[in-house]
């Protein structure tokens, strides 16, 4: 055995445990999901193949509504995260006293157990005694108490805001890192030529952080599309289905009603959407890295 071959063998030995682990815990379940989606599996020990029945069942009007709702929910959440996060990054990048402390103060929503942050929002949205309703009343903006999670429209936006809150720190710190990696001498050269602050931002910062903006949007897109904890804790998909996204619907069907087959068909659909997003993400990032290599 020559040296090159033994190096390859050694590399595979190092990789084997992780590859095996992922195969059992991720790859096998993925295949099993597809397999189950063609069956009527439930709590019973045995199950039969039902062909495309589960897929035919989900392509009815309610589920089309769920898909549309998921996309609207995801779109507004990602958009708001990116806008607030990028603005936050620009603010934290400015050379003012105290910025090191401000950066630390950005992190808590990301670091603390997600569920606990969501409990706090649950109280803030409380109609009778919560802070948001209370302050709005004190300022005379609303007449009576507003129970945000009790009405479809407000619950929809309330869950989006909480999702934004959890996602913003990551976007902020990532975009801050991107802004700080812009070469300082570009700014100095532009400044020497008399370019103002806004002009420098528009012509130097913005074009150079576009790749990071796209990358972060795609990462946010995938995690937001998968978002479960927030909706489950705040509304469990209610009231009357107004916050039921695809992932919540899948969970309710599979774990709540024990319809594993129908749940699996929904999960397959989610996987297809996620694969499309990821494919787009890899295409975009590889194009960006090719362009920057030129």
């Amino acid at each position: 055995m020559n040296a090159k071959k033994s190096a390859i063998l050694f590399a595979w030995l190092l990789l084997a445990p992780a590859v095996l682990y992922i195969s059992i815990i991720v790859i096998y379940p993925l295949i099993d999901t597809v397999h189950l989606s063609f069956t009527n599996a439930s709590l019973r020990k045995t199950y039969a193949y039902v062909g495309w029945l589960n897929y035919e069942k989900i392509f009815n009007e309610t589920f089309a509504g769920v898909i549309l709702r998921t996309f609207i929910w995801t779109f507004f959440s990602v958009l708001t995260k990116m806008v607030i996060g990028t603005c936050g990054a620009l603010l934290l990048n400015s050379a003012v006293p105290g910025r090191a402390l401000f950066r630390i103060l950005t992190m808590p929503p990301w670091i603390v157990p997600m569920a606990i942050g969501i409990f706090m929002w649950g109280w803030m949205y409380n109609g009778q005694f919560g802070m948001i309703s209370g302050l709005l009343q004190n300022w005379g903006l609303v007449d009576g108490p507003v129970a945000f999670l009790a009405y479809g429209e407000t619950a929809f936006w309330a869950t989006i805001i909480t999702d934004v809150w959890i996602g913003v720190p990551m976007v902020t710190l990532y975009m801050l890192a991107a802004i700080q990696s812009v070469p300082q001498d570009l700014y100095e050269a532009a400044w020497t030529d008399g370019a103002g602050r806004f002009y420098r931002f528009r012509r130097i910062t913005l074009p150079l952080i576009v790749p990071a903006l796209i990358t972060m949007s795609m990462i946010s897109l995938i995690s937001t599309f998968n978002s479960f904890d927030i909706i489950w804790i705040l509304t469990q998909g209610g009231p009357s289905g107004s916050t039921t996204t695809m992932i919540i619907d899948t969970y309710k069907t599979a774990i709540g009603s024990y319809k594993y087959g129908e749940g699996a068909a929904r999960a397959v659909l989610i996987c297809i959407f996620l694969s499309i997003f990821s494919y787009a993400y890899f295409r975009v990032t590889s194009r960006i890295s090719m362009e920057s290599a030129r």
């Binding site: 390859i8 050694f10 590399a11 595979w12 990789l15 445990p17 992780a18 590859v19 682990y21 992922i22 059992i24 991720v26 096998y28 999901t33 189950l36 607030i84 603010l91 050379a95 950066r103 103060l105 950005t106 992190m107 808590p108 990301w110 670091i111 603390v112 157990p113 997600m114 569920a115 606990i116 409990f119 706090m120 929002w121 109280w123 009778q128 005694f129 802070m131 209370g134 009343q137 004190n138 809150w165 720190p169 990551m170 990532y174 890192a177 990462i219 995938i222 998968n226 904890d229 489950w232 804790i233 992932i247 899948t250 969970y251 599979a254 774990i255 594993y260 699996a264 999960a267 996620l274």
Partner: protein, 285 residues
């Protein structure tokens, strides 16, 4: 001029006011749930449920912090479970990831690029997507309602970020050190254990901290679905059961939440420099 702020970074007075106002708005959004949660934990229950709404607590006290131990009987156990699950998950992740990251950082082998891509793609399926087969898998492994039902699936979704982070760190270790070891006749395994591992220790520490924090903050869905024993519940699930009741004792729930997030808060303040680099590098995929 050389000692003071460079001219380019100087702001006019109204710009400084604008920046601080912007930062204030931003931080109000990020921190208000914590501020409100903390104030609620100080308010007596009768004051909490009174109109009109008052932001500052009157007759505020830390009473809820002592009464909560009786209202949430399993509280200490939940915190222990959370720390235990995250701790074991971190150890398992490190055992899998340290060799794998070294292989990705140092060896050229067929299929390296696609395999790394496949590892990163695992993150796509975190959460509820694979819940049905995972449930069946946990059941057939006979680990439902044990710690393992929460640790095993959790680990899989902590691996991608950890591999990426550690690989990036290991790429920075100079190759000459290993080459020197090989020249001296050291085997690959010996070089890995005696040359690379000690040099990679700072990187491994960052990965361990990041993994632990992620494991601690994301305990929910697997614990909700794969475990129904109160004795094994991590903090978020233990408090969720309490949160779902008809009459929520909010001040105690908030007090319990604050005690529960204390470990994370302490970590932020002591390790924030490592954390920022670790967490943001993990995001660059």
């Amino acid at each position: 001029m050389s000692t003071s702020t460079p001219m380019i970074n100087r702001y006019k007075w109204y710009e400084i006011i604008g920046i601080y106002c912007g930062i204030a708005l931003f931080l109000i959004f990020v921190l208000s749930p914590f501020v409100e949660g903390f104030l609620v934990s100080l308010k007596p229950l009768s004051r909490l449920f009174s109109s009109p709404y008052r932001f500052w607590p009157e007759h505020g006290s830390f009473a809820a912090y002592s009464t909560m131990w009786e209202s949430v009987p399993g509280f200490a156990r939940y915190v222990f479970n959370s720390l235990f699950i995250s701790g074991v998950a971190t150890v398992v992740v490190l055992m899998l990831v340290v060799p794998a990251a070294y292989a990705f950082a140092r060896f050229r082998f067929p299929g390296r690029g696609p395999l790394l891509g496949a590892f990163l793609a695992v993150n796509m399926f975190s959460g509820a997507v694979l819940i049905i087969p995972l449930f069946r898998l946990m059941r057939s492994m006979g680990v439902l309602n044990t710690y393992w039902a929460m640790i095993v699936p959790g680990v899989a979704f902590l691996i991608p970020t950890a591999i990426w982070l550690l690989r990036t760190y290991m790429l920075r270790i100079p190759k000459e050190l290993e080459e020197a070891a090989y020249v001296d006749g050291a085997s690959r395994l010996y070089t890995f254990r005696r040359v690379i591992l000690p040099l990679a220790m700072p990187g491994i520490t960052v990965v361990a901290i990041t993994t632990f924090i992620n494991a601690y903050s994301q305990q929910f869905i697997y614990a909700l679905t794969f475990n129904s024993k109160t004795d094994y519940m991590p903090l978020p699930i233990g408090l969720f059961a309490y949160f779902g009741r008809q009459e929520v004792i909010w001040n105690e729930l908030m007090a319990a939440s604050f005690v529960g997030i204390a470990p994370a808060m302490i970590v932020i303040f002591f390790l924030q420099r490592h954390l920022v680099s670790g967490l943001t590098a993990g995001a660059v995929k």
